[in-house]
């Protein structure tokens, strides 16, 4: 079986592995690196549970081949949690119960963080649109929209983040 040698940065750590040509990013993260925070749920790019950040943009881990990652930077929920980047978003999710079973939550948070980076004043409709590629079966979405909206308000009123 063909393997490809890749060296990339994952959550700030340099990682070097040989990966099979057919392995996708989400399996690479979970099986090779033990980063279990990002989840697999459909493997055909619809549900968004595997959403991670690749070179600054959010992608579906099931639609990216690991072999294409040489020289890339990947950030997962573990990384953005440890850096504190989304602490306020996570606190809002906790306070508003915007997570129930927690399985969609890492992908949902990555997508919400991505929205707030590019739009500091999203309307509820804009929030719903941006997370429309992240399937949640438990919450019915309203609590998630509330939590993202609250975070956006708080960021505006407290000024730029340190």
């Amino acid at each position: 079986m063909t393997t490809n040698s890749i060296t990339l940065t994952v959550n700030g750590d340099q990682v070097r592995r040989d990966v099979p040509a057919r392995q996708h990013l989400i399996d690479f993260l979970r099986l090779d690196l033990g980063l279990m925070g990002s989840h697999v749920a459909c493997e055909h790019g619809v549900c968004g549970a595997c959403t991670v950040r690749l070179d600054g943009a959010i992608v579906r881990g099931c639609l990216v081949l690991a072999a294409s990652l040489h020289g890339s930077t990947v950030e997962t929920i573990e990384g953005v949690s440890d850096s504190g980047e989304i602490r306020d978003l996570q606190d809002a999710f906790i306070a508003r119960n915007a997570a129930q079973c927690g399985y969609c939550t890492p992908g949902m948070l990555m997508t919400a963080a991505d929205l707030l980076k590019s739009n500091a004043t999203p309307t509820r409709a804009e929030i719903r649109e941006h997370i429309s590629g992240n399937y949640c079966r438990c919450t019915g979405y309203q609590a998630i929209v509330d939590a993202v909206e609250t975070t956006a308000h708080k960021r505006r009123s407290s000024g730029p983040k340190p």
Partner: protein, 795 residues
């Protein structure tokens, strides 16, 4: 620990019941640091994947795995015969559902495949990917057989039998009758009738079905990490069918990524995984992928119901007559059985209303399709759709406003306890009060005038209502009396530890609804300690009291009551020791905020941690005959009512685009009475999630089959689920009528949203289309079906 609780929000120390306290599970889940089954990696773990039948019905002549075994990393091919030697089959019937029948089911079939997607052979390999490579090389020789794929003709004499030994394709049939329906229809002022279809759909839990079984050949002990709602039940199932003592089987479920009933059933491929682990003596993991989930997770709600309602000249319902037909799979599902959904339909139709004459028949037939079983709200969405659909038709026939008709016919709030014509016992429902509350929330006259104004511009908006009842807190009358080893009781052990912190181990389980959160609130209040000092243990048969898990909305009402009683008992035991230590009379002390205090003055006498230090390390200083059990276990079972029924009413406000058939949901309201509320935010969120799940079945979700029994959905591109952009905001209001069966007074709330949403949506669409004389009665109400009703596309 980061608590996010404002102490000023509490009106007395440690008063947590009734407050929206954030859940203790969330800090780890928002960091992706939970533990779902697929996150668990064990030494020498291997993976199993399944060869699945492409035929709806076929004889299996031979299975040849020789080519697959040549692939490096593919370790073993396992077939039905090999597993039957170590694993006994099961038959899913309940004796109190008289006449119910089903054939024995094995973990892998011995002779025939009976649905498209049934696992027929297992491939074990070093990785899932290699197991799938192996599947591609397994050669199965099938002889296709005629498939039974139309429930309307399943019982026709020319239709082949799926199981010859059963004599026909009938699983169960029952007629529920009271009063004199024939006379009532004869005397009726008006009769309305309609045929409703609720479409077969499935749960689509985001975390797929997952199981990791580890058998230690040396100790003979089996540990199963299982994404399940009922670990104790599964412990019993694995022990019984693998011929092991229950004490040698441990089932663990830490985090479960959504269940909604899908994960409370026994799946043959999961039992096969456990049996293979026993054969191989090493950990074996099976994670269903999305394609297999569509074909092997239980389906539900495939019904055709003919309904008739009679009303008198005053607008009162006098009779309801329904004929329900449902097509299940080739086997009834174990152990809850696939007849319960039909049985619930005939028990629940007409539920909120005051009338005397009732006849309801259900016919449950076998099909060569994916097996069906209990899925969130089981039977309620169907019963509510039929009832509320007939109610709106009756109101229209009488020229009455739909709210006025309901007000006239709903059971009065002061008429309890009472038994419905369907035989259901009700205690303390609040239909009238709930309706009043809904009217306060929606501004009905404004909506109607907006509707009129929009119609004049060619925009069609509709408002639809759905009153409903919901069964919660089930007693043994649901399953136990039928012979199923399903527990209606539950237990909680509360223990005070040396540092004064408290542990509560409970038999009810967490899948995101907030079980750990509410148990923590109840126990903290019952013992008298700050909430952050309580931790909850659940989801492990080895460390929790024997219980039933979470289903049929029993977590708060039954699990919560056991926790409350255990907490109160623990507090009493601690105060007994404290009285001895402080030489105070009984009843003069209390525990507040983790301290022993004078009940009268509130003065702190000593920290709880000091009491525990003495009990655990300096017991020599206490009177020798003083009881000092700081760990108390209580079990609770309901005794008076077979179920604690709740009630509510929903409203949907939507717009139908008559050119495209697309439905835009503008707003949704729910009023719910689930008895005493432990955490208002969690109840609201259960209602919201349930509503959206019901909307999915009403508008989008459909497990479509070809006439030959081929399942036509395998991806989420075909099977549409509600996503954020199409869902409305949902406003939730509450009435609280506590049940008198328990101290806590809590009933359940998890399924209410799903019970009423499809009916509200249907009635709203039909309200919107009324001026165009179009009506939809078959779910999902897809754009195509709406355009067909409007005559814009051919049927």
């Amino acid at each position: 620990m980061n608590e996010n609780i404002d102490p000023r929000a509490l009106d007395r120390p440690n008063s947590y019941i009734g407050k929206s306290v954030p859940r203790p599970n969330l800090p780890k889940l928002v960091e992706g640091r939970g533990q779902f089954v697929d996150d668990v990696v064990l030494p020498r773990m291997v993976h199993v994947a399944f060869v699945r039948s492409p035929h709806a019905h076929a004889k299996i002549n031979a299975i040849n795995g020789a080519e697959a075994l040549k692939i490096p990393g593919v370790l073993r091919i396992v077939t039905g015969r090999e597993l039957a030697a170590i694993c006994d089959p099961w038959v899913a019937v309940l004796v109190h559902l008289a006449g119910m029948k089903s054939a024995p089911q094995y973990p892998l079939p011995l002779e025939r495949a009976t649905w498209h997607g049934e696992a027929v052979a297992a491939v074990v390999a070093e990785s899932r990917a290699l197991a799938e490579d192996g599947i591609a090389k397994v050669d199965v020789d099938y002889d296709p057989l005629p498939a039974v794929a139309d429930m309307e003709t399943a019982l026709a004499p020319t239709t082949p039998l799926i199981h010859a030994e059963l004599g026909d394709n009938l699983c169960f049939q029952r007629t529920n009758e009271s009063g004199d329906v024939t006379a009532a229809f004869k005397a009726a002022h008006k009769i309305v009738e309609a045929t409703f279809h609720t479409g077969r759909h499935t749960g689509v839990t985001l975390e797929p079905r997952s199981i990791l079984a580890d058998y230690n050949k040396g100790s003979g002990k089996l540990v199963v990490h299982h994404s399940t709602q009922a670990p104790h039940m599964m412990q019993g199932v694995f022990a019984k069918h693998l011929r092991m003592p229950e004490g040698d089987v441990r089932v663990i479920c830490v985090d479960v990524g959504g269940s909604y009933g899908i994960k409370v059933h026994v799946y043959p491929d999961e039992v096969a995984t456990v049996a293979i682990a026993k054969l191989m003596g090493r950990p074996v993991k099976f994670i269903a992928d999305r394609l297999e989930s569509f074909g092997s997770d239980i389906h539900a709600r495939d019904h055709r119901i003919n309904g008739k309602m009679a009303v008198d000249a005053e607008g009162r319902i006098t009779a309801i007559d329904i004929d329900d037909l449902t097509g299940i799979g080739p086997y009834s599902v174990y152990p809850r059985t696939s007849a319960v959904e039909g049985n619930q339909v005939i028990n629940l139709v007409g539920g909120p209303y005051d009338f005397a004459n009732y006849r309801a028949k259900t016919t449950v037939v076998l099909q060569n399709k994916t097996p069906t079983c209990q899925y969130r709200a089981v039977g309620h969405p169907i019963a509510t759709t039929v009832t509320e659909g007939l109610v709106d038709l009756a109101a229209e026939a009488l020229g009455m406003d739909p709210i006025a008709f309901r007000l006239k016919n709903l059971m009065r709030d002061d008429s309890y306890p009472r038994t419905s014509p369907a035989g259901m016992k009700f205690e303390g429902l609040s239909h009238i009060k709930s309706l009043g509350r809904l009217m306060d929330m929606i501004d009905y006259p404004l909506l109607r005038s907006e509707q009129d104004a929009m119609r004049a511009q060619g925009i069609y908006r509709g408002i639809g209502f759905a009153a409903f009842i919901e069964l919660t807190n089930p007693s043994p009358f649901m399953y136990g009396i039928g012979g199923a080893r399903i527990s209606a009781q539950d237990g909680c052990t509360v223990r005070i530890d040396p540092d004064g912190s408290v542990v509560a181990a409970t038999g009810v389980t967490e899948q995101g609804q907030g079980t750990e959160g509410i148990i923590r609130q109840i126990v903290a209040e019952a013992v008298g300690v700050p909430i952050h000092t309580v931790r909850v243990v659940t989801g492990d048969t080895q460390t929790t009291p024997y219980g039933g898990g979470t289903w049929a909305c029993r977590g708060a009402g039954i699990g919560g009551e056991a926790a409350l009683q255990a907490g109160i008992a623990t507090r009493a035991a601690a105060l007994r020791v404290a009285s001895a230590m402080l030489q105070a009379s009984a009843g003069t002390l209390d525990i507040v905020n983790g301290n022993i205090v004078d009940r009268a003055t509130g003065a702190v006498r000593m920290p709880l941690a000091e009491l525990t230090r003495i009990v655990y390390f300096r017991g020599d200083t206490l009177p020798p005959d003083l009881p000092r059990e700081l760990m108390q276990t209580r079990h609770f079972i309901t005794k008076e009512f077979p179920f604690a029924f709740t009630n509510g009413i929903q409203a949907s406000w939507l717009e139908v685009d008559v050119e495209t058939g697309l439905v835009k949901l503008l707003k949704h309201w729910v009023v719910e009475d689930c008895g005493r509320i432990i955490n208002p935010q969690l109840v609201d969120e259960q209602v919201r999630g349930g509503v959206v799940q019901g909307i999915g079945g009403a508008l989008y979700e459909h497990c479509a089959y070809s006439p030959e029994g081929q399942l036509l959905v395998g991806s989420m591109a075909d099977y549409l689920v509600p996503m954020a952009a199409e869902m409305p905001d949902i406003e939730v209001g509450h009435i609280e009528t506590p049940t008198r069966e328990s101290l806590l007074g809590a009933k359940g709330a998890g399924e209410a949203g799903t019970a009423g949403a499809p009916a509200a949506i249907m009635n709203a669409i039909n309200d919107a289309l009324r001026p165009l004389k179009a009506q939809v009665l078959a779910q999902p109400f897809s754009p195509e079906r709406i355009l067909q009703a409007l005559g814009k596309v051919p049927t």
